[in-house]
């Protein structure tokens, strides 16, 4: 369930931006920035404000990889899986990140860390690249992954 404060904030955003040309893309970014994902309970409100059907809004959200329908893990590790990073061992890095995340989740609870693919962070000359939450890391060695993850989890713990 989303809070009444959040629903109010979203209503405000909808009222403010619904007349912008191409408002749906802009508004969904704002809502995801606010809530971390696009709560299903809000799809009806968004559709009503923009005079769209729920199906259109749902279809839009699920088309784009960036939009989430469920809350993300506290720590999201994005490993680039595109060609330039592949040429520098991204597959092994991915496998290792997945196993590190499993270990961390065993220790910290199920959904503390998730590993997601990303197709290009634009760091192709310093491959392989990884993004942990908002921090970019380039030329990532397998041995670094655990440390980077621990650091991110510590920061997360400090913030919480």
């Amino acid at each position: 369930m989303i809070s009444t404060t959040m629903r109010a904030q979203v209503s405000e955003l909808l009222a403010l931006k619904k007349h912008m040309p191409g408002a749906l893309l802009v508004l969904l970014h704002d809502i995801q920035d606010l809530a971390g994902y696009i709560p299903a309970e809000l799809v009806g409100d968004i559709a009503a404000a923009l005079n769209l059907s729920r199906a259109e809004v749902h279809g839009f959200i699920t088309f784009y990889h960036h939009f989430r329908s469920v809350p993300p893990s506290a720590t999201v590790v994005q490993v680039c899986r595109a060609e330039a990073c592949q040429s520098m061992g991204a597959q092994k890095l991915w496998d290792h990140a997945v196993s590190c995340a499993a270990t961390a989740n065993g220790k910290h609870g199920d959904a503390a860390v998730s590993v997601e693919p990303v197709y290009c962070l634009g760091l192709c000359s310093t491959a392989p690249a990884v993004q942990i939450n908002s921090a970019l890391h380039a030329r990532v060695q397998i041995e670094q992954v655990e440390g980077l993850l621990t650091h991110a989890l510590t920061q997360q713990g400090a913030a919480a």
Binding site: V26, E56, E83, S87, Y119, G122, C124, T126
Partner: protein
């Protein structure tokens, strides 16, 4: 004595610790009571040396790199000495051969200026192009771009001037300029560097496009994976607006042009121009059938100039120096320069702006210095995920759109991904099909279904089951590729066969085939 130091704020430098180095520099300077003027500039594009620190001296800027936090105390000490001697010292930045041998036209300011300093920008020829354009008739601006020979740098290489002319001649209540900054191709980042490192150049180019074609509203569609580029562009637009370079009366003239950033949402296909328009309009990024051409019926049904970041960013220089200056670089019908991105498994990776005509072999060995792993280079993918794998026998072909097309390859956006001999080209071909299946918008059948069937057929070639005939599967894969090439609506389905077929043709052994049974 004040010490003027430059340390890049480019994402790649940050990903290698530039922010921590900057913090360490400031802390150390404070404890030494040293007057330090730290400029966070753009990157020179010598990424194997990032974070690259430069210090201003009487002779010019001297480079040090790659700098890590533990290097900071020793480095600051060295910088206070007259000779500045230090193990990381690389000499005068502009004398580093890798950089000195380039033809930096579009990227002339890269690594030199502070991206968000309008004063810096103008001190380095910025806004000279717009000032000249404002004294010309719109049709003369279009002619200048046409005469320069500038072709779309996003990959399709369509002459920019012809597109502009179509929009300029269209009559409509509202026209748009849309910059395609959905740079999703692996092995490309020159758009990102431009937006993070020289944002006013793109704004200036778009403004000129607006004045030339009668468009008063611009959009920059930037991928969500580029948060730094989005932030820098937004900040630069505000600065341009406050200083009269955007708005209702550009530099006091009657020309109006306003600009807005639209953040994309992680769909690769939105790099296709009509899918991008759908996305900006607030719909799923599903490709539109052409005609109508976007130049006549584009964004919100209005005439729209759609160009890639580098195309638009090249325009200020063409207006400043004239069409002839630009077209004197290059070969054949490929005029000017291409900011080439040398990436992947390569020792000296980075941004190399060269006139068309350079060869892959020069790039790989003279600039790149061979593979990063020290192993032999096996295959090179040119032009992004939809570009062909170019085998060694083609490494001496000049970088020229037509010469590459003649061997079934594409220059695309100038992205080069290098693979050493551990790469398996059958796996990479399979990945190309897999990626197409993942990112297909679903509108046309060859792309939506062909890509999935493509993965299956490649699997049957590389891991044949009992009773399956490999040669027959090869025929099937070629037939499927032919259907995708000829029958897809856009380049996603239409060019995925490039990496697949080039892998099959040049590296049949990786598919478990001999030359004879791969050619049927």
């Amino acid at each position: 004595m004040s010490l003027r130091i430059f340390l890049p704020r480019d994402s790649a430098a940050i990903a290698l610790g530039a922010d921590s180095v900057a913090a360490a520099l400031m802390a150390q300077a404070k404890s030494l009571q040293l007057d330090l003027d730290l400029v966070r500039n753009s990157s020179r594009g010598m990424f194997w040396l990032e974070p690259l620190l430069e210090v201003q001296t009487d002779e010019g800027r001297v480079a040090y790199g790659p700098v890590t936090v533990p290097d900071v105390p020793g480095l600051l000490k060295a910088l206070q000495e007259k000779d500045g001697a230090h193990p990381l010292r690389l000499g005068l930045t502009e004398s580093i051969p890798w950089l000195a041998r380039q033809e930096r036209l579009t990227f002339a300011r890269m690594g030199v200026t502070d991206p968000l300093s309008l004063a810096d920008y103008q001190a380095h020829a910025g806004y000279s192009g717009l000032r000249r354009a404002l004294q010309m008739k719109p049709a003369e601006i279009v002619q200048e771009v046409l005469d320069s020979g500038l072709r779309g740098r996003g990959g399709a290489a369509f002459p920019a001037g012809i597109k502009w002319k179509t929009v300029a001649n269209a009559v409509a209540p509202q026209k748009y300029v849309v910059c395609n900054a959905d740079e999703g191709d692996s092995g490309t980042y020159s758009d990102r560097m431009t937006m993070e490192g020289d944002p006013f150049m793109l704004i200036e180019g778009m403004t000129i496009a607006g004045i030339a074609t009668g468009a008063t509203q611009g959009y920059v569609y930037i991928r969500s994976e580029y948060p730094h580029a989005i932030a820098t562009m937004q900040a630069a637009i505000q600065i341009a607006l406050q200083n009269g370079f955007l708005g209702d009366r550009i530099l006091g003239t009657d020309h109006r042009f306003v600009l807005e950033v639209r953040k994309a949402a992680g769909a690769y296909v939105c790099g296709e121009e009509t899918a991008m328009l759908e996305s900006i309009e607030g719909r799923r990024g599903v490709v539109r059938a052409k005609p109508p051409l976007p130049a006549l019926s584009g964004l919100f049904g209005q005439p729209t100039v759609i160009n890639n970041v580098i195309t638009l960013a090249t325009v200020p220089l063409i207006l400043e120096r004239g069409a002839d200056y630009y077209r004197n670089y290059g070969v054949g019908r490929s005029r000017g320069t291409l900011p080439i991105q040398l990436t992947g498994n390569i020792r000296q990776a980075g941004l190399i702006e060269k006139a068309f005509g350079v060869t892959l072999r020069e790039l790989l060995y003279d600039y790149g210095g061979g593979s990063a792993t020290g192993r032999p280079i096996k295959a090179v993918q040119v032009g992004g995920p939809l570009g062909a794998y170019v085998p060694p026998e083609h490494w001496d072909i000049p970088f020229d759109y037509e010469a590459y097309a003649a061997v079934g390859a594409a220059l695309g956006h100038g992205g080069i991904v290098v693979h050493d001999d551990t790469a398996n080209l059958a796996q990479l071909a399979r990945y190309a099909m897999e990626f197409c299946a993942l990112e297909s918008c679903g509108k046309c059948t060859p792309c939506r279904i062909g890509s999935t069937r493509g993965v299956e057929v490649i699997d049957r070639i590389t891991k044949p089951q009992e009773g399956q005939n490999r040669a027959q599967q090869v025929v099937l894969l070629r037939d499927l590729c032919d259907t995708m090439l000829a029958g897809s609506l856009c380049a996603l389905g239409g060019m995925t066969p490039y990496p697949v077929l080039s892998a099959l043709n040049h590296y049949p052994q990786d598919f478990g085939l001999t030359n004879t049974n791969s050619s049927s």
